[in-house]
């Protein structure tokens, strides 16, 4: 299972594509793509690139763990929550940071 993630242009905040086509802060709201969804996934990437507002777009593997989306890579788990030490809340979107495709 895969999700799309990136960083929003203005704030640099970590964001995820949700099922409605909005780029949102919460990993748990991310749209998941199965093995048969490659065309939709790639179309979403292309549409996102066209906005020029999301950087470092990545396809990340996730699993369901206790009903929650759980990135396979530690790096992605840190991106989702913020630095582990010193503990800082993750970066948040600013008012002008909402991007949709």
């Amino acid at each position: 299972m895969e999700i799309l993630t990136g960083n929003e242009l203005i704030s640099g905040a970590t964001v995820y594509l949700d099922p409605q086509g909005n780029w949102v802060e919460d990993l748990q709201q991310a749209r998941t793509f199965g093995s048969g969804d490659k065309a939709e996934r790639d179309e979403a990437v292309a549409k996102t690139k066209a906005t020029m507002r999301i950087l470092s777009i990545e396809i990340e593997k996730v699993v369901l763990k206790d009903g929650q989306l759980y990135p396979e890579r530690l790096r992605e788990r840190i991106r989702a929550t913020g630095s582990t030490t010193p503990v800082f809340d993750r970066q948040h979107l600013t008012e002008d940071g909402h991007v949709s495709i």
Binding site: N7, L9, S11, R73, R75, Q91
Partner: protein, 552 residues
């Protein structure tokens, strides 16, 4: 310290205005990220895991109270109230927003600072001995030459797109505190037979995935010819350095693959062409720049011996600070004081905005308004009267910056690692914090003595792990973190690269593994004064390998 002349000020302002306009075009959508990325990187703006990161240059680690207060203001206004000093003596902000970057750069320009050439395949910020202009063992203050090199290398049209980044370090003292043998070019002040001071030139050192000790390419280059000689090296590198593979593009690979004699011949041929030309450095220009670095007007004190033993009885923490955090000064009655940015259990190199303001106050009150950033991620007040030490210490206590652990096992170099860095493959700060807590006892640290631990969160080695007496490298393995331990590295004039003694360790195993190395050293050292690195060189790998992995 050096002050911008009209050219410098106009140039930095023009560059700030230019970048403001570029940021505006990026936000408005006139420019895409592929177009903008190289522009932001040339202005020190990276994108990390959670946010942008702005890397601000601190030229040769030298700054004053005015600069430090401005860095505090930026941290407080545009970031999360702190900054992180790096192993390149720069400061990084981890949480700025793109819209705020032009304002931040304007603020920096107000105090003669910028973020230019803190990224990209160009000549990066030049580093020097942190005790430059103060150290008792110094032959010459390296900062005037570093400033001249800064002017020469800033937006040098021929060297703005080198095969890879290029780092230069300079020491004016025989005791190398600037790690010159692990730089693309290292310069060390030396005296020739006529008593004139010039420079040993070392080339092809570096860390990263292929650590190499620099090689002596010229044992004496006079000031007059230094720019021409360095230009010759850069020209040879620019011409022949590999561009087909970024991992083999540093000058160390060129020197290694072609051989020192070949490179030397090419440099000498180039030097023969450019020597005596426009790059000749007139003595009067060196004198003009040197005037900016003239020593302050010191008070006249007799040579003063600090009774550390007495002070340790009266106030153990203060006594420990005196024992570890002072460096001998050229001027009788003065010392250089290192401010440790390594409080127990905290990220190495971090400093809050409030602490920055207090450090600026202390620099103005006690050190002729001079401050230095060190490649070991500490700060230095270079000129402190011994008579002022107690008042200074009390000021540091008020700022929470009184840690007396400089040079001890908790004075750890550590990169940001995977908590922040997009390149990292493992976290490094949690390891540093855990080790700091494990060895927090002052008595234990005193027992261990001089032992440098350096931690990197990936093979790029920003945490200098190869040259730690004990080095720790975090790597990714099967989706988790694994830590390789190296032993025997040394960044000084006795340069050596640490050796991997066996398989890596899980994060939670690292502190105990380090303690086993420490205990093996203590058990086998000839005297309590024999440092870890000396004992390792005498004993070899075997006892340390056994300490880590047993007899199996």
């Amino acid at each position: 310290m050096y002050r911008y002349d009209e050219f410098d000020a106009a140039f930095v302002k023009a560059r700030a205005d230019q970048f403001r306009e570029q940021v505006g075009r990026r936000i408005s959508g006139e420019m895409n990220e592929d177009q903008f990325r190289p522009l932001r990187l040339m202005n020190g703006l990276y994108l990390q895991l959670h946010a942008y990161m702005l890397r601000v240059a601190v030229p040769y680690g030298t700054l004053g109270g005015k600069q430090m207060r401005k860095l505090a203001h930026i941290a407080r206004t545009y970031d999360r109230g702190y900054g992180h000093f790096t192993t390149r003596t720069n400061i990084q902000y981890n949480w700025p927003k793109l819209v705020d970057i032009p304002a931040i750069i304007d603020h920096l320009a107000e105090v003669e600072m910028h973020a230019i050439q803190t990224s990209g395949n160009c000549i990066r910020n030049i580093t020097v001995d942190q005790f430059a202009g103060a150290a008792a063992d110094e032959i010459i203050d390296p900062r005037p030459i570093a400033e001249i090199l800064r002017q020469w290398s800033s937006l040098h049209p021929e060297f703005s797109f080198l095969p890879r980044k290029f780092k230069i370090a300079v020491t004016g003292a025989p005791n190398d505190r600037a790690a010159i043998k692990f730089h693309d070019i290292g310069l060390k002040a030396v005296t020739n037979g006529a008593g004139e001071i010039g420079w040993e030139v070392w080339v092809g050192g570096g860390l990263g995935r292929t650590p190499m000790i620099g090689k002596l390419i010229n044992s004496y280059v006079p000031n007059t010819d230094l720019l021409a000689y360095l230009e010759s090296i850069l020209r040879v590198y620019n011409r022949y350095g590999r561009r087909d593979n970024k991992y083999k593009a540093r000058i160390k690979i060129l020197v290694h693959e072609e051989g020192l004699e070949t490179i030397k011949g090419q440099v000498e041929a180039e030097f023969a062409q450019v020597r005596g030309g426009v790059l000749t450095l007139p003595e009067e220009e060196l004198d003009r720049i040197s005037a900016y670095f003239a020593p302050p007007t010191f008070a006249s004190y007799p040579a003063t011996v600090i009774d550390i033993a007495r002070e340790k009885i009266l106030d153990p923490a203060y006594g420990r600070f005196l024992e570890n955090n002072l460096n001998a000064h050229q001027q009788p009655g003065y010392v250089s004081v290192t401010i440790s940015l390594k409080p127990i259990g905290k990220p190495p190199g971090d400093i809050s905005a409030d602490q920055m303001d207090l450090v600026a106050d202390l620099a103005e009150r006690f050190s002729f308004n001079e401050l230095r950033a060190t490649h070991e991620q500490n700060l230095v007040l270079p000129h402190v009267a011994i008579a002022d030490l107690r008042a200074l210490y009390d000021g540091l206590v008020a700022a929470g910056l009184e840690a007396g652990n400089v040079g001890e096992i908790t004075d750890i170099i550590c990169c940001p690692g995977m908590d922040f860095c997009a390149l990292a493959t493992a976290r490094s700060i949690p390891i540093a914090e855990e080790l700091s807590r494990k060895f927090s006892s002052p008595q234990r640290q005193k027992e261990i003595g001089d032992l440098k631990i350096k931690i990197s969160g990936c093979i790029n080695a920003c945490g200098h792990h190869h040259v730690g007496h004990i080095g720790i490298l975090g790597v990714e393995k099967k989706g988790g973190e694994l830590y390789q331990i190296t032993v025997g590295g040394d960044a000084t004039e006795n340069a050596s690269v640490g050796k991997i003694l066996g398989p890596g360790f899980e994060a939670e195993e690292v502190p105990d593994a380090i303690e086993r190395l420490v205990d093996a050293y203590i058990a086998r050292r000839e005297t309590p004064d024999e440092p870890f690195i000396a004992a390792f060189r005498r004993l070899g790998e075997a006892p340390f390998k056994e300490a880590l992995y047993g007899n199996a």
